[in-house]
Symmetry: C2
Subunit: 447 residues, 2 copies
């Protein structure tokens, strides 16, 4: 009997043409990559060659970048993208092993439709789907769904909790072995193994059953990225992977401890929740080369875009009226992401940054940790957080695609493998198996 060594989990956060806000202007960027399937297929196949646990697609239900007019928006390079569930379905049949996770909002969908499309993706991919559950954070999205402003923060999470009950209940409509396909007897399934939901709640009334058999993974893997008190409590109850953003190890450790404690309070096993902070890797043969690469990208940030980005990260709080080279003013409370607003506010105060400096500081990592240097130094930085209770793995956000992913797979992953910190081959076939997550028991198997 050998004890399984704890391994780093890796997600590839893919957004064409790269996570850095100026990336699309880089000579190597596929500026039209957001709607180029071949580009995404190549990226995901690269990530699969690198043995990533999963690729991850963020999402917004509309153009989320703030703009005062069309002219201002035209400086942004991110207004159009594939819709994630359709894209992942196409990628599912273009890959073999890598997990496929998409973001979808509980605020602007019906639970039946979400349960159904993710179950369908799990079947198409033979058990490789994941759902990043978000409540959405911008008024721009609300305006595409019959509202002028978004629902308040607490109500969004209230709806999200009931949404999860419905979706997981629908996923358990049929037991794993419900289907008999008995042609002779004319019995398609065993009626004792069908569990009709009949949910009647505050936000939803959903009868069921779901019209798909139970997913290969039982449930797609549940990912969550809200960091407010409400968001953490939601994660502690529902999430199996938690994405998060931290700059310093002590912050990451505090968050890690806090979430795992809350997981225990919810009666769950803390090992069944993987905490994965984002990292924004800038990779060079030398530290200087990495710094040069970063400087090239920073130079590509248009001031219009920098200010707009800041407005967005502050939760639709427009600071363009204030002097660029003055301090960040006191901010009104946002109905958007409270955690993200606080993070930025604290950063500006503690480091004494002006508005301009603040937007430059987030143009790259956007609040996520920047790891810049050689493959060895980056592996050191990842290992440090991993072995010291700051992370179970990382959501890797390449600044520029495909270059940043090619470099990570070609240089950083081999270094992690040499250290015995990352797999050299997939052992399982499902995303749950990659991540070391249990398969949820179905309705009929409950104790």
């Amino acid at each position: 009997m050998k004890t399984q060594r704890r391994m780093i989990r890796l997600g590839a956060f893919l957004v064409a043409p790269g996570y850095h806000i100026g990336a699309w202007r880089h000579p190597h960027a596929h500026a039209d990559g957001g709607l180029d399937f071949g580009h995404y297929r190549d990226l995901v196949q690269t990530a699969e060659r690198g043995k990533f646990d999963m690729v991850f697609l963020s999402d917004g239900l509309g153009v989320r970048t703030p703009y005062r007019d069309e002219e201002e928006l035209s400086h942004w390079g991110r207004s159009v993208q594939f819709e994630p569930l359709t894209l992942l379905s196409a990628l599912a049949v273009s890959t073999e092993r890598i997990g496929l996770a998409a973001t979808a909002s509980t605020t602007y969908h019906e639970p039946f439709n979400i349960a159904r499309q993710f179950a369908s993706l799990d079947h198409l991919s033979a058990g490789r789907s994941g759902w990043n559950v978000v409540t959405s954070v911008t008024d721009a999205e609300a305006r595409n769904f019959n509202r002028q402003t978004q629902l308040d923060h607490a109500s969004r999470y209230h709806r999200a909790r009931e949404f999860m009950e419905v979706v997981t209940g629908l996923w358990d409509s049929w037991e794993d072995d419900a289907f008999l396909y008995d042609k002779e007897a004319g019995r398609f399934f065993d009626p004792d193994k069908l569990h009709i939901l009949k949910h009647q709640g505050q936000h939803f009334s959903v009868h069921g059953p779901l019209n798909l058999s139970r997913a290969p993974q039982g449930h797609p893997v549940i990912i969550q990225a809200g960091a407010s008190a409400d968001g953490q409590d939601f994660a502690a109850q529902w999430a199996e992977v938690v994405f998060t953003a931290h700059q310093r190890l002590d912050q990451a450790q505090a968050f890690y401890r806090s979430v795992k404690e809350q997981v225990v309070e919810h009666g769950r096993d803390p090992e069944q929740v993987k905490i994965m902070p984002g990292v924004f890797p800038v990779i060079g043969r030398t530290r200087a080369e990495a710094e040069d690469k970063y400087a090239v990208l920073q130079d590509l940030v248009d001031p219009v875009v920098g200010l707009g980005l800041l407005t967005w990260l502050l939760g639709d709080v427009d600071v363009s009226g204030y002097p660029l080279d003055g301090p960040l003013p006191e901010l009104p409370t946002t109905e958007g992401s409270i955690s993200r607003q606080q993070l930025l506010y604290e950063k500006a105060r503690s480091e004494g940054l002006t508005i301009r400096e603040l937007y430059h500081s987030v143009s790259g990592g956007r609040g996520h940790r920047i790891v810049m240097g050689t493959p060895e130094s980056i592996a050191d930085e990842l290992e440090e957080w991993f072995v010291n209770g700051g992370a179970d793995g990382f959501n890797v956000m390449p600044p520029l695609l495909p270059d940043g992913l090619d470099e990570f797979v070609g240089l950083v992953i081999p270094e992690l493998q040499r250290r015995g910190l990352f797999r050299t081959e997939y052992e399982g076939t499902t995303l749950r198996e990659h991540l070391g997550l249990n398969r949820p028991r179905g309705a009929g198997q409950r104790p």
Copy 2:
């Protein structure tokens, strides 16, 4: 200059394990085909080899077959299926030329999400997507979306009309050549070519823009299958393909004329609307062989299933309380499909059918025209309707898959090709080109 000969349009209506209600019990059936991607990929590649204009996936938002308890439902072979948009996205990258049409309901979705997923599918497939617009017809679906019974018929169409305005408006958010990708100047798009919808209506308020560039086809092809007065008027305004069900040529001709006239009244070109009745082909080397094949399938229909099917086709009107061998009673008006209820009611009256005979008569074609015989006789029957103003093409519903599709592609299509009635090679690359439909002008190109 050669004049283009008018060609038959063909859709392949694919539902595993076949359209006949007893098909799943057939020895050749893939009883688990509804969630077997390889099965669907093979079917669609067969249809593509046959040069079909498109494959078509019907849909229901839940288990639509009526059942009193789990035991009754367990006799049906159709309770689980892939969700169509995820399935078609995977099929898009597994095929080259064939059109890909999915059904989606205007009653249980938000227009932003539908506009987005179909645009995404159109990009993934390089211009091969189609949307069958339905308003849904069962209470079973309503119960999955916070209702006990469905919205009444008129309100569903009222919502559907505004839904179409929003969706097509979102599809025209960006002009075809809006994107500049000008890295030097930092201009992603030309701001004059962005048209923000700002829709404020009775059912929807949707700001826009859509976060995808204009679809390769401009708009996915709009298909419609409602046949009530309201449904026909909707089709006349919006549809480019009309699916329908008729038993006799004179009925088909009357419908054809009526819809085309209404199309003209809406100021549209009648050639830009293709009328495609469903046909249920039973193919043999001789008439007797075809009849035998049909009899084998009919023998596989469980009485529980036959009665349930009738209840469903009558729009949730349960007739199981009446003697099986007596006549169909007077029926209450349904809030489901009025046209379908009337069709069946008239059939039972005019042919003097008992309830049992009526359900047997629809177990195969379910109201669609059955064409049974040799490839030549079937080609004759299709040609007759095509040349006599009954149809622009047909929606082919193989009783049993893959056999029925293999036979149609192997035997009937070559016969149609010999007669010069069907293409021998794709000429265009998009579904619009296959069907001879114009590409809609974008917002900026409107006169």
